[in-house]
């Protein structure tokens, strides 16, 4: 830059500011595609369409695992004892307090549908293990109850509920909350 100071902006000042601005804006704009390309691509999103699951073959007490958007989905056909344990628990004192009724569709207490990914660091918890009639994560020892709520260990949150809707008494569609929102 020139050492001569003048009150009037010179053509050189204009060129300097204009070049710096174009460089800064252009550099920032170039980052958008470079960073954005790492987001899920169209084929990945398309493969994440809703899936239909027939619940009829699932026995009482059985937990099955299906995949939606590459995530394991647990479907638990709960026995009356599992439901009673889940409903009677003192949920107000839990780390992520939720009543059992907020974790199932009303009128379908028997069916618990969860994303089977530990909310700690993403491992798949093992069914029918741990102290709470639910799941035990082998990676860092988190334990979930028969409502998929975190009861012990490092995980901060309950196992999440995917969007799903009952299309009939024994069929669900995962990925479709029934409100038109996927």
């Amino acid at each position: 830059m020139t050492a001569i100071s003048s009150a009037e902006p010179t053509r050189r000042d204009f060129l300097y500011i204009a070049t710096a601005t174009v460089g800064a804006v252009g550099g920032a704009a170039a980052l958008v595609p470079l960073i954005g390309q790492m987001n899920p691509d169209a084929s990945t999103i398309a493969a994440g369409a809703p899936v239909d699951v027939d619940l009829a073959p699932i026995q009482a007490g059985q937990i099955i695992k299906v995949f939606w958007r590459s995530k394991p989905i647990f479907i638990f056909n709960r026995t009356p004892n599992d439901i009673k344990l889940a409903q009677d628990a003192e949920w107000q004192s839990f780390r992520d307090p939720q009543p059992d009724s907020a974790r199932v569709k009303s009128g379908h207490d028997q069916w618990l549908v969860l994303i089977g990914i530990c909310t700690h660091l993403g491992c798949i918890p093992l069914p029918h293990q741990g102290n709470y009639d639910g799941w035990f994560c082998p990676c860092h020892g988190s334990q979930y109850d028969s409502s998929g709520r975190i009861r012990q260990g490092p995980a901060p949150l309950n196992l999440p509920i995917p969007p799903y809707t009952f299309t009939s008494a024994t069929k669900i569609r995962i990925g479709d909350s029934g409100t038109g929102e996927a």
Partner: protein, 418 residues
């Protein structure tokens, strides 16, 4: 660099080149005439070992990439193809996989030496911070390389480590999805990890140049921690340091080769010879041994965000070591209390490593918590206080004086070798 003036090109071509690109003079001043403290012990050879290992990893990595396919359906089989079909493929892969372990073993020795002899202290702060950056780059490179064979441990290591970012409030989940390029670890993740695993070693090489540059500006530390004052304190880099480095690299390679040829899978996990299965987490997932202390710190803390912060903080705190250590005396040889606490610190890190390999239950968690408290207590309580409270031993006036007094005291002829 001041040695430049003393370089006299011997033949016509070098004279011609030197007037156009003075690379001969740079090499001469940096690696031949460069004055190195005459009392350096073998702990100072790990820098050379690390440079050698970086070269080994880059060369074997480039040839392995010629036979590897970064796709979820082919990656595992292409690695098995390297093991069974590619000529010498088994050797190259074992050299590369064990090379990562030996690279980390050497860097831990190098860091321990820096901590013992106070090599991070004024004026070597930038040199030390560049070293911490190099360590972080090594951790990232090693992690992404471990994902590439696409075995069970690869897949679940990728899942657990990328999920560390989900602990960030608000933007955690979008960041994790962006890292994956999908709804879970999958093909896009494997592809980008391969791309970055190929890139990062060259970034490491670039930072190594800065690291050596900074080293040559401030000069090497030495076991007394006293600055070299005159020519009596130093010897020429070549032949003294070069030969010593080369000798110890050879010894290091004997152990390395023993692992490669006789127990190549000793440091690995058998689960990684099972192809990745996104539906089944192995019953006991553990990282490679060189990450175990940090993994133990992560598991010791019963809160996700705090655990992730502690994991990152355990490495980042090293960058602040030059300011957390308030003592002006560099070498632990003259700091009796610091030396005790430092040995306990090294033992705590090894202990955390052991606990990181065990199931996260009961007494193991409690022990890991105690050692984690010591780990951070060492940096944030012990080091700042020690500098104020400790009575240090008298320092020698110079490097040559410390050597002469030692050889005068020594009755054995080995003391007179300098």
């Amino acid at each position: 660099m001041s040695g430049h003036a003393t370089y006299q090109p011997q033949n016509g071509f070098m004279k011609w080149l030197e007037r156009r690109l003075p690379i001969g003079g740079l090499v001469y001043s940096s690696f031949i005439a460069y004055p190195t403290p005459r009392n350096l012990n073998y702990w100072w050879t790990f820098g050379g070992i690390l440079t050698f290992m970086l070269g080994v990893q880059i060369v074997t990595g480039i040839v392995l990439a010629m036979h590897y396919t970064p796709h979820v359906d082919y990656a595992f089989n292409s690695v098995e193809g390297i093991m069974r079909d590619v000529p010498f493929g088994w050797l190259l892969r074992y050299v590369h996989a064990n090379g990562a372990a030996f690279f980390f073993a050497a860097v831990y020795m190098h860091m321990a030496r820096g901590m013992y002899y106070g090599s991070y202290k004024e004026p070597r702060e930038v040199l030390w911070i560049l070293g911490v950056i190099l360590f972080l780059l090594m951790v990232a490179t090693g992690f992404m390389g471990y994902v590439l064979p696409w075995g069970q441990m690869s897949f679940w290591a990728a899942t657990v480590i990328t999920n560390l970012f989900s602990a960030i409030p608000l933007v955690g989940d979008p960041i994790v999805s962006w890292l994956w390029g999908g709804f879970a670890v999958g093909d896009p993740t494997l592809n980008r990890f391969f791309s970055l695993h190929y890139l990062l070693p060259f970034v490491i090489a670039g930072v190594v140049v800065l690291h050596i540059w900074a080293l040559h500006v401030v000069g090497q530390n030495n076991p007394t921690g006293v600055d070299a004052k005159d020519e009596k304190d130093t010897v020429a880099f070549t032949p003294y340091a070069t030969v010593k480095d080369a000798f110890f690299v050879s010894l290091f390679c004997i152990v390395y080769a023993w692992f490669v040829f006789f127990i190549p899978n000793y440091l690995g996990h058998s689960d990684n010879y099972i192809m990745a299965n996104p539906g089944q987490t192995p019953n006991h997932i553990v990282p490679e041994w060189y990450y175990l202390p940090f993994y133990a710190i992560l598991r010791a803390i019963p809160n996700k965000l705090a655990g992730v912060c502690a994991l990152g903080g355990a490495i980042v705190v090293l960058a602040f070591l030059p300011w957390l250590d308030t003592s002006r005396v560099r070498s632990a040889n003259y700091r009796p209390l610091y030396r005790q606490f430092l040995y306990i610190f090294f033992a705590a890190v090894v202990g955390l490593g052991y606990l990181g390999s065990q199931e996260p239950t009961g007494g193991y968690v409690i022990a890991a918590r105690l050692l984690t408290i010591y780990y951070f207590g060492f940096f944030f309580v012990i080091l700042p206080l020690l500098g104020l409270l400790e009575t240090t031993k008298p320092l020698p006036n110079s490097i040559s004086e410390s050597i002469l007094s030692k050889s005068a005291a020594a009755s054995s002829p080995s003391g007179a070798k300098v």
